[in-house]
Every structure is written in structure tokens, then in C-alpha cells.
């Protein structure tokens, strides 16, 4: 797992605003579709897809490909590993802010 600074516990994967956004949304939604993610984050298809692949490769999210009628409906859900990584990252962020004050 890519932890760039062992002291802070910050996760390099979450440096990116879109990846952080995806994880925040997945933390509070059981599952969410590609289109809903796109609308919430205001990004293009290609951009979002790239970041989703990165997160999937890290094992932070599960992809479920389904259909609504004939249209593909891809939904995403967070994994246990993803939850842990995200919580650690947030804890680290909070610690750093407190530490600096």
C-alpha cells in the first residue's frame, strides 16, 4: 500500500481530489452508479474511469456490472480495505491539523 509518509499516515492515493471524492461518496453510500459519481464530482467519463481503475487496482472498491434494460449500469462499492485506508487517511489529516495549531 502506498503510504508516502510513514509518520503522518497520509495515503498518496488520496492526494488526488477526484479519488478522495470517490472514496468520500462510497463511505456513505452502499453502492453508487458511474453516472451519479460523474454528476456529483463534475468530471468527464474518461477522467473518472481512470481514477476508478486506480482505486480498483488498489483494492479499495468493488465494481459490479449490471444492466437496466439494455443499458449497462456499473455500480461501485467500497471494500473493507478501502474503508480502513480512508479512515486512516482522515485520521492522519485531522492529526496534522491539530498538530500544526
Amino acid at each position: 500500500m502506498a503510504v508516502n509518509n510513514p509518520i503522518s499516515g497520509l495515503n498518496k492515493i488520496f492526494d488526488n481530489r477526484i479519488r478522495l471524492g470517490v472514496m468520500s461518496i462510497l463511505m456513505v453510500n452502499d453502492e453508487i452508479s458511474f453516472n451519479d459519481l460523474k454528476a456529483l464530482l463534475e468530471v468527464t467519463d474518461g477522467n473518472l474511469a481512470t481514477h476508478l481503475v486506480t482505486l480498483e487496482t488498489e483494492g479499495f472498491l468493488k465494481v459490479h456490472k449490471g444492466f437496466i434494460g439494455r443499458k449497462t449500469n456499473t455500480t461501485y462499492a467500497i471494500t473493507k480495505g478501502g474503508q480502513k485506508a480512508f479512515t486512516d487517511h482522515v485520521t492522519a489529516l485531522e492529526k496534522m491539523i491539530k498538530g500544526m495549531k
Binding site: F14, R17, L20, G21, S24, I25, M27, V28, N29, I32, S33, D36, A39, L40, L41, E42, V90, L93, E94, M96, I97, M100
Partner: protein, 216 residues
């Protein structure tokens, strides 16, 4: 310093995304005010017609035709009030979503609609069943109570303040059970006055000055 700021930004981003992805936040306060005004105008007409009916009743006694006419016109009035308040509520919410560049019908709107529909449809069927047995006494309180329950249930999926509106509607409905026959007044307060107060408070808090409200 800038690093601290970027961490704060990240945390705020997380918070905003969590909120935005679970709650339908486009609900406009103006929608509440509009629905409340519709309800009050409707109640005023209903009061007038019922009063007129009783004047006729005093002069000519009970006639089936007069009673049926009253029932029919009240039914039409109820349908018109419901339709106008839904349309105007929808309009202001649509306008707000459009201004904030948010989708009007996404999964948060779906969640809100579904979770409000459960108590509302239950209440609607329950009231129809009461009418089936000619039991009209609890129609007005039941409307307020089930509507309040719907708001409380929906408050997890939209602006959380709507919970208080729901609790007030429930309290008003329960109070109404002790003042049977005054249903119209309770309706006017519950669907009219409370909506206007709530709508104004929400507009004041979130829309008056869009820059101040960080919950977009």
C-alpha cells in the same frame, strides 16, 4: 501554512461530498412558502363554502343536493390545492437545482421520494379505509400525523431541519384528535402556517446569501 490549508480543504471536501451524495439539498425554502400559501388560500375558500352551506342549512334545513354540492366542491378544491402546491414547490426546487448546477433527479432525490412515500401512501390508504366506514372524525388528524411521519422519515435524506417541521405536524395532528370538528383550522396551521415559517427559515439560512451557506 499552505500545507495546513490543503489538509483543511481536503477535510472540507470530504464532508461536502458525503453530505451532497446522501442528501437532497436542492429543496428550496421558497417551495415551502409557496405550498403554505396555496394551503392557506385553499383553507380560506373551504371555510367560506362551509359557512355558506351552514347558512343555507339554517334556512332550508338539510338537503341532499346542497350537501353533495359542498362535498364535490371541497373535493375539487382539495385536488386543486394539492396540484398547485406540488407544482409551485417543484418549480422553486427545480430553479434552485438549476442555479446550483445540481441534477434534480438523482439517487438522493430517489431516496427522499421513496422514504417519504412509505408513510404517505400508508396514510393515504388508511384514510381511504376510514372513509370507507364513514369514519370522518380522524381524517384531518391522520393527514397531519402521517405527513409529519413522512417528513421525519425523509429528514435523513434532505436538509435535516425538516425533521422539526415533521415533529410539529405530528404534535398538531395529535392535538387535533382532542378538538374534532376543528380540522380545517388545524390543517390551515399545519399545511399553511408551518410550511410558510419553515420555508422562510430555510430560505433565510441557506438561500438568502448563497456564499454564506457552505452546504451548497
Amino acid at each position: 501554512m499552505s500545507e495546513e490549508n490543503s489538509h483543511l480543504d481536503a477535510l472540507q471536501d470530504i464532508r461536502r461530498m458525503m453530505q451532497r451524495s446522501t442528501r437532497f439539498i436542492s429543496l428550496s425554502g421558497l417551495s415551502g412558502i409557496a405550498a403554505g400559501v396555496c394551503a392557506l388560500v385553499g383553507a380560506w375558500f373551504a371555510y367560506d363554502w362551509i359557512h355558506e352551506y351552514y347558512v343555507g342549512y339554517g334556512q332550508a334545513g338539510y338537503t341532499n343536493a346542497a350537501f353533495d354540492r359542498l362535498k364535490f366542491s371541497l373535493l375539487i378544491l382539495a385536488a386543486v390545492v394539492l396540484a398547485t402546491s406540488l407544482v409551485s414547490a417543484f418549480y422553486f426546487t427545480w430553479r434552485k437545482a438549476d442555479k446550483d448546477k445540481l441534477p434534480l433527479w438523482d439517487h438522493t432525490a430517489r431516496n427522499l421520494a421513496l422514504n417519504m412515500a412509505i408513510p404517505l401512501v400508508t396514510g393515504g390508504l388508511f384514510i381511504l379505509a376510514m372513509l370507507q366506514y364513514d369514519e370522518w372524525k380522524f381524517v384531518a388528524p391522520a393527514c397531519l400525523i402521517f405527513y409529519g411521519l413522512a417528513l421525519v422519515n425523509g429528514s435523513k435524506y434532505t436538509l435535516s431541519e425538516i425533521r422539526y417541521l415533521g415533529l410539529l405536524e405530528i404534535a398538531l395532528g395529535l392535538l387535533n384528535t382532542q378538538f374534532i370538528g376543528y380540522g380545517l383550522y388545524f390543517w390551515a396551521v399545519g399545511f399553511g402556517v408551518l410550511h410558510i415559517i419553515y420555508g422562510f427559515a430555510m430560505w433565510w439560512k441557506y438561500e438568502r446569501n448563497p456564499a454564506a451557506a457552505n452546504v451548497r
